[in-house]
Symmetry: D3
Subunit: 251 residues, 6 copies
Amino acid sequence: MQIDRIDGRSKDELRTLTIERGCNRYAEGSALIKWGNTHVLCTATVEEKVPSFIRGSGKGWLTAEYSMLPRSTHQRMQRDSSRGKINGRGSEIQRLIGRSLRAAIDMEKLGERTITIDCDVIQADAGTRTASITAGFVALYDAIRWLIKNEKLTENPITTQIAAVSIVKINGQMVIDPCYEEDSSAEVDSNIIMTSGGNFVELQGTGEQGTFSLNELNEIAKLAWEATQKINKIQQKALCLTQEEIEAIKK
Amino acid sequence: MQIDRIDGRSKDELRTLTIERGCNRYAEGSALIKWGNTHVLCTATVEEKVPSFIRGSGKGWLTAEYSMLPRSTHQRMQRDSSRGKINGRGSEIQRLIGRSLRAAIDMEKLGERTITIDCDVIQADAGTRTASITAGFVALYDAIRWLIKNEKLTENPITTQIAAVSIVKINGQMVIDPCYEEDSSAEVDSNIIMTSGGNFVELQGTGEQGTFSLNELNEIAKLAWEATQKINKIQQKALCLTQEEIEAIKK
Amino acid sequence: MQIDRIDGRSKDELRTLTIERGCNRYAEGSALIKWGNTHVLCTATVEEKVPSFIRGSGKGWLTAEYSMLPRSTHQRMQRDSSRGKINGRGSEIQRLIGRSLRAAIDMEKLGERTITIDCDVIQADAGTRTASITAGFVALYDAIRWLIKNEKLTENPITTQIAAVSIVKINGQMVIDPCYEEDSSAEVDSNIIMTSGGNFVELQGTGEQGTFSLNELNEIAKLAWEATQKINKIQQKALCLTQEEIEAIKK
Amino acid sequence: MQIDRIDGRSKDELRTLTIERGCNRYAEGSALIKWGNTHVLCTATVEEKVPSFIRGSGKGWLTAEYSMLPRSTHQRMQRDSSRGKINGRGSEIQRLIGRSLRAAIDMEKLGERTITIDCDVIQADAGTRTASITAGFVALYDAIRWLIKNEKLTENPITTQIAAVSIVKINGQMVIDPCYEEDSSAEVDSNIIMTSGGNFVELQGTGEQGTFSLNELNEIAKLAWEATQKINKIQQKALCLTQEEIEAIKK
Amino acid sequence: MQIDRIDGRSKDELRTLTIERGCNRYAEGSALIKWGNTHVLCTATVEEKVPSFIRGSGKGWLTAEYSMLPRSTHQRMQRDSSRGKINGRGSEIQRLIGRSLRAAIDMEKLGERTITIDCDVIQADAGTRTASITAGFVALYDAIRWLIKNEKLTENPITTQIAAVSIVKINGQMVIDPCYEEDSSAEVDSNIIMTSGGNFVELQGTGEQGTFSLNELNEIAKLAWEATQKINKIQQKALCLTQEEIEAIKK
Amino acid sequence: MQIDRIDGRSKDELRTLTIERGCNRYAEGSALIKWGNTHVLCTATVEEKVPSFIRGSGKGWLTAEYSMLPRSTHQRMQRDSSRGKINGRGSEIQRLIGRSLRAAIDMEKLGERTITIDCDVIQADAGTRTASITAGFVALYDAIRWLIKNEKLTENPITTQIAAVSIVKINGQMVIDPCYEEDSSAEVDSNIIMTSGGNFVELQGTGEQGTFSLNELNEIAKLAWEATQKINKIQQKALCLTQEEIEAIKK
């Protein structure tokens, strides 16, 4: 069946996606992702301390923060600091980013230190959370390299390569990587975080306008697998990974 | 294969689950759910106003709030009001409850009014979000009855019956409705919200310790379908629904 | 003189009052009080730490927190956490609860630990502060039993049994334990916390609509003494106190 | 019996008390009270608006705010604005000041406007709440004069003169108007707000270290009556009230 | 006299400075300034509303907000929203930016609308406030162009071109546009905002380590005049201003 | 040229200025300044601790806080604590006060302790920041005396006497020390903090309505020098400084 997407893409075609590594002078790792008109700046900060609930365990921690610049959107949004109330959406997204990236790392090998992934949305056109996770992985990988280069680690604690993609149902049809106009009118909205080996790290499907069936869930899974394979290659290229390094984190 | 669950249940066996409807004297709808040792009090409040973003649209709105009493848990937690910072987990949960219950209602039929579902956890032993959604549906249904009885509505805007269940992977095996000890050691954690007709309203799967495969996702889906069918019956009984009423919201 | 009370009670007749002890699975002490249509859940939490201003003194501390569920009242109230400003009334009430219950305990015998009494109003129909103090005493007593049973204390630090009652003047007449409708139209409003031996722990009288004389103050005192004697018996029964235990804390 | 007070006063002797009226250039009413070493600046602000809960009722409102300068005390206190959490004590005190002064005014005669009494403690040496109420009455009276002079009111809405005093039990003996050292070691602490006609507006007695009996309550009442009579005269002098004006508000 | 600057510049030599206009897809005006290693993203948002204090006056308003990304600095900083207390420095800077840019605009000609200049520091290496003002002017100018192009304005309300520069005293010598290392060890620190016609919009001089004389003040003024002339040219080029347009705003 | 000032002063004539030292019973240093109708109470508090960023350095610290009483102004202002958002103006002013007074002290000689200068505006009629700095110096000097007298310091760490004055341009003419009406209509507004030796500690000039030239900047500098010389004498008299003490801090 023929799909008419607003920007002429086929149903399984990603928007243009580039990742620029090392865009921040101070951070241990950083990546600027431009995914269609969505631009997110991710930095990875290494600090030699851990939250109190794991202190003394020998394990490390990873946490994420997510925020949008006031004019990253069509209408200017108030800053969190001047609104003075909980930003529920941002809080939900940064918890997702943190959980997903923690799944990519062996905390015992990391040792008692914390990596903070800051995801600041410069410009938003749908898919800011999947862009944050995808670029966050690149920033994280570079921070690990920094730790190894600076002889704070001898072994790479990253266990798996992860990437994220959004899949929505519009006019009864599943399409990948929606732009803003598509995202706004989706009947079903899903975000899938997968490993390069094809397993799920997290899957969230929501019937925004209606519900979805088991068959549709399986179609989402299939499209996500194909899309994340492509995204993995862009991450690998941004990180200049060797084939050996790619295999080491394929699970 | 034989499963050894800490409380002797089989893999697809729910904890004891009761719902007491009408437990609050003032609310338009209310339900006290006791699901194992998890106790949640849900109230539905009807207010003749809507948030500014839909004012004038003729549509209604539903929102949810979720909070835990300080000693609902093993260790006393600080109240949100005295912590003075974002409670990310609570914020994420109340957004999930709101989304799920909005999927059960036709906002145009509801008209310009807001229903607020308050979910207060009296005692927690895993599954507080699935208990909140399950009992929230009962409170919501009763609030709709109140609107009809008071001649503010002529037609029932509820389109589908929804229920929620948690499914986790422990020791490599999927089991439904974990208690606290099981939940704490889960390798994969999922929450599924389904309609009585067997469709998904929301599905969230997380690899807490590791990842999960497509086969496992399908096993989760199957267990969720069986479990929510049982939970639906308990909701129907609490609401004293007739067979006709049950069919009307089966989608 | 004949009094016409809205619910048919005589001027010195309490509303139906029951106290269910041990209603919370985790707390060291707990009590659910149902006093007319006012329902309050009290838990007592023991923590092996004290505030900085008494650290090192060998003395213990007791503090209280008071909060109302959003739909405990006729109209839904905003949660403290989403209002983002001081709830003056709640703050005043929790200070009263804390002061009153501290008067029942020998802090040197308690030792350097803190007991926190959480009072969460499930449903409100006047008298939530007196219900909180009355049930708070029961939860506190049980927490002390837990300390003794777990060999953290050898001697009971509770020095006196306390109970609270509200007395108001309506249509020029003093009546005890008003319900919501009576409370709303009171000319004078008072809350009295007394020991089982007949002394005052705290007395607060307020001329809400007008003032009150010394004679009226003495009438309040007399009614309070009779009412708290009855309430004491209900506490004793809930706690299954022996006659010896009752005498030990009569002051 | 002979009492040894730390500053040589007899048991029913007030500290030196002066009230300077009109100390603020902008406020509609103002008074600086120096009561021993306790100095409080009170201003009364008239605004032509009322809170939403009485809008349209034709009635006025009075509210009070209470705050201490950071170095009004022996040790510097953090400002409320930089602590960022509820100041329970201050909140409790400002509610008492508001309630007490509302009792002195006929809200229907005041009409739909709000008077705000700001009480800022410049220096504290016990009795800041009684000083605030006592001087607050003077500022309030002057604000009413301003309203009459500016032809916004034709009739005086003040119905009664009120004053406040603190009475404590030290070493088993009741004494009035304690200084800081006495207040810190009090066994019983009470604050009494009375009309010039000898009735109670508010009475708060607390057994800080122990309890108090009905006889002691009556002794407190008697001492309060004598003390407030003296304080009334100082207020009258500060306000330059005529005998006729004094009688008009004696109730 | 020979100066040894850490980066080899002469005393009156600017760091490399580029301004990229139109970097944001949604904002009415935008500019990304890279000034040495300091990168600031400025957007100008036009909204058809004004603050209450000028409503109905026919005049417009301009306000600025300033924030630093958490990892814009050597050490990661906490976000304002999670610190939960006043960021005094940021507040001071955004007030300066707002005042300076308001000086460049005729509020009556702007009409009742608000322009908000958001300055978000992507990377910081000294001079973030002067970069914000300099790029803020470019974003502002473009937002005015948007208003004219969209026929909301017929006349350009910009009255003067402004630019900002920092001048510090190090080792007894004045130098312009310090980098981070120079800024940290400055004896005197000044920020000057000037018009293209050579007048001061704002001048702030601070003796960070010591004081400064009238002669030194005049030296600062002279260096600032020369530097802002150069910066003006870079702004003009970024904005593609014609000679006529340049003259029109030279004051 | 003849100037017509609203209060009849000549262009270089200060308003009446008095400083009362030792007005607070508890503070280590204190001063009440009455400068025209502007009244500010300053206290200096000594605490034997320093902020974390200089701990262990052997150096001391000085910080300032600035706040206005609600009715210090023509219209009542909300308190910071009830507004619940950043007070940008107050934050900017207290940073200026802190910076200026830090410039008067040798932090190494002060040793690891903090002096906090609290500036509370009792009544405001323009010039509250210059009054705060001027009186803050007096309170600071007295706190140093207290340290020396109590043998915590042997040497005076104060290096220079500082004072502050405001100079504005009205109707094209520079005048010193404006009152409220003058300040509101100023074309240029400046605040200058100078040492008794005639050097600048801080100079802030702002073109509120327009800009200012280098000639005008030099006129401001000259007027400031003359004015601060006079203010210095009033400080010296309030502090009862000997000629030797005056010379010791003239720089």
